[in-house]
């Protein structure tokens, strides 16, 4: 199963000794999910997720491995996926305005029948959102990153051609930011 | 050398096959409908713009609850009503009952995407799809339908 090997490889990115940090992370996530599924969704939230690897139920979420990491570790994680033969599905962002953070989300999936969709998230402060580009590893990320830059204003450090793609070339607004007023 | 000639031969053969196919089609009847002169019947479920449904008395069934207005993704529907006692019209006995009467039901067809959310969300079966499709015009105002007026025109 590629899922386990990739999970293990991604787990190794996190410097802290495994058993110490992993347990609370998984628990927190499970608690989070249970929260959502049950009656009281409004309570006990806005606790930014702790970095780490989570395993998700494919039937429920549509993906298998959910990784959150620091922007600095992004390239290492992407390289692991590149070596394992994943293809890039999409890059996008989410604006967590309450936490004052922007999240970049990278989707990877596989061509073979060993279904494993990996989601990599990385968060960066809203005031100065900079994330290293992965277009050197996956050239297909070029457009996706430009699009994310259009919509969220996340600057992809080292991107060769970071000009508006879908928006007009003189656009200075980022429509998917939650505080965007048209 | 053999491959050279066989390629020429096979190529020519494939071209001739293509020619035969189009030649056969040449004698088949045309399949198109000359549109302005002939039209086809629209299917039963064809979704044109919406239309108000009348009750037995010729009044709109609509009770102006506004469910369609809320459901519309593009905000194409605007309606207004006034609350009247409406004594003169009441044929039954309940004279005192207040009633909301539709005074305006406008559909801005320029933004309508014909999704049918309004019809689906109507709990009173008061709107339906028309079968109109000859709707070309060069003026924007022609697509601001006053459905109430259309209903009255249909009745008269």
């Amino acid at each position: 199963m590629i899922k386990d090997t990739v999970r293990q490889a991604l787990q190794d990115l996190f410097p802290d000794p495994e058993p110490v940090i992993e347990e609370p992370v998984v628990e927190a996530a499970e608690g989070d999910e249970a929260d959502g599924d049950k009656k009281k969704p409004a309570k006990k939230k806005e606790e930014p997720r702790v970095n780490g690897v989570l395993e998700r139920d494919h039937a429920e979420h549509g993906y298998d491995i959910d990784v959150q990491l620091e922007p600095g570790e992004l390239l290492a994680a992407i390289m692991i996926l590149d070596k394992a033969g994943f293809f890039i599905e999409a890059v996008t962002g989410v604006d967590w305005i309450k936490e004052d953070q922007l999240e970049a989300v990278y989707d990877f999936s596989r061509y073979d029948f060993d279904v494993c969709r990996v989601v990599i998230r990385t968060r960066t402060p809203r005031s100065n959102p900079i994330i290293p580009t992965i277009s050197k590893i996956y050239p297909g990320a070029n457009w996706h990153e430009r699009e994310t830059h259009d919509f969220f204003g996340i600057k992809f450090d080292g991107h060769p051609h970071l000009i508006p793609l879908l928006l007009p070339e003189d656009a200075d607004f980022h429509p998917l930011l939650k505080d965007f007023k048209p | 050398m053999g491959a050279y000639f066989s390629e020429i031969f096979l190529g020519l053969k494939s071209l001739v096959i293509g020619l035969i196919i189009t030649f056969k089609e040449f004698f088949k009847p045309v399949v198109t409908v000359p549109y302005p002169f002939k039209t086809i019947k629209m299917s039963e479920r064809y979704r044109g713009h919406i239309e108000l449904i009348e009750d037995e008395e010729g009044n709109p069934k609509c009770i102006s609850c506004g469910a369609c207005q809320r459901a519309c993704p593009s905000g194409s529907i605007s309606l207004a009503s006034k609350s009247v006692e409406y004594e003169a019209m009441v044929k039954g006995e309940m004279k005192t009952k207040k009633k909301k009467v539709l005074t305006k039901y406008n559909l801005n067809f320029t933004t309508c995407s014909l999704c049918g959310q309004c019809v689906e969300n109507c709990n009173f079966g008061a709107i339906t799809f028309s079968k109109d499709y000859n709707l070309a015009s060069s003026r924007k105002e022609d697509f601001h339908f006053d459905l109430l007026k259309r209903l009255q025109e249909r009745n008269s």
Partner: protein
């Protein structure tokens, strides 16, 4: 991304293909740096019909977004609405009756054939042959008539609902579909003889426009583009959704990596779709088309949900980030043509313009879907 290699500056000229150009089938623009007829460097410029569907998805309720999805890809609209209903059903945990799923599969496959037929005609027209387009449109008309009788519209369908369908199919539809299958098989044979076997056609596509499997992976290509590069990837098989796991169908894969391979994949896919429709009509269970208990207001629980489907153009994904309200917090559309098109810049370097445009045609572009 490599620049001109052996050409001196000033020897090339810039050619703007588009935004209004017959080959781009819409408002796509490719800035090409040309050396005579050869492309030195190409840069695709998008966004001419960008409509910000993702923002619309955030400020409308889930049912209100439904019609938007069919505006993404006007040729294979049902596949896209299917993705949306599946994603919301996954997020909100809505059960779907089996009959509804079967009808969805049948209509999606019909729509896929319609889309491939139109692509076939338009692609051959790109290559200068006009007549197949008219034949393809005639066949497509049968499908549109069938779908119109069921869904009420001909192009931008809004047929699926969360939990089921807008309305049930009737016997007329089943009869029409059953009559259509043998007819389409005959027509496919005709296309084979008229177009596929044609030497001019073959010469124009064979070994032209190579897109390797590795390139597909790096750019995230999917659908017929990936299958034409020898990748056995079809979301319907790899990650079965709806009732596709109950159908017996093959995924056509060609290893030539050229434009002809991509063409052949689509032509074979039509046959496979016919098989699915055939089986679907046979197995079609009776029952309701909407679940008994359906929430009036759809409010998926907090979370992040992803749903991928195989549309006519490739793997289409929807990510819904829900914050528990009736609007999505984030509504991401992963459109297949966007990824497929992004490899064009690299793949067309060094090609002649007419081959590059033939390759562009073989990618099966629908511009509204790229721009979203």
């Amino acid at each position: 991304m490599s620049g001109p290699i052996h050409i001196q500056p000033g020897e090339t000229f810039t050619l703007n293909v588009g935004p209004q150009h017959p080959a781009t089938h819409g408002v796509l623009r490719v800035k090409m740096e040309m050396d005579g007829e050869y492309i030195v460097k190409a840069e695709t410029v998008l966004g001419y019909i960008h409509r910000m569907h993702e923002l619309m998805g955030e400020n409308r309720t889930y049912p209100q977004v439904l019609p938007n999805l069919s505006r993404l890809d006007y040729l294979g609209a049902l596949g896209y609405t299917h993705a949306h209903v599946l994603a919301v059903e996954r997020a909100a945990g809505i059960e779907v009756p089996e009959r509804a799923e079967y009808i969805r599969a049948i209509t999606v496959e019909l729509n896929r054939i319609a889309s491939h037929l139109f692509w076939f005609g338009a692609f051959v027209m790109d290559l200068g042959g006009f007549t197949p387009l008219m034949y393809a449109i005639e066949d497509r008309e049968y499908i549109l008539d069938m779908l119109e009788a069921v869904t009420g519209s001909r192009l931008t369908y809004c047929y699926y609902r969360f939990g089921g369908l807008y309305n049930d199919i009737d016997d007329d539809f089943i009869d029409a579909a059953k009559a259509f299958i043998p007819r389409m098989r005959r027509q496919l044979k005709k296309y084979d003889a008229l177009v596929t076997g044609n030497i001019i056609f073959e010469k124009r596509l064979k070994d032209i426009g190579p897109i390797s499997a590795e390139m597909c992976r790096k750019y995230g290509a999917s659908g017929p583009v990936a299958r034409g590069a020898g990748i056995d990837f079809d979301v319907r098989k790899n990650e079965p959704y709806s009732v596709y796991s109950e159908f017996d169908f093959d995924v056509p894969v060609y290893h030539e990596c050229d434009s002809l391979a991509r063409y052949m994949v689509r032509m074979d896919e039509m046959e496979q779709s016919l098989r699915i429709i055939e089986q679907g009509l046979e197995k079609l269970p009776d029952g309701p088309i909407m679940p008994k208990k359906k929430p009036k207001l759809i409010k998926p629980p907090k979370g992040d949900y992803y749903q991928a489907v195989e549309t006519a153009r490739g793997s289409f994904g929807i990510r819904i980030v829900s914050d528990g309200t009736k609007n999505a917090y984030r509504f991401k559309l992963r459109s297949p043509t966007y990824s497929n098109m992004s490899l064009f810049d690299e793949a067309c370097e060094g090609m002649m313009i007419m081959d590059a445009l033939a390759m562009m045609g073989s990618l099966d572009l629908v511009i509204p879907e790229i721009d979203r």
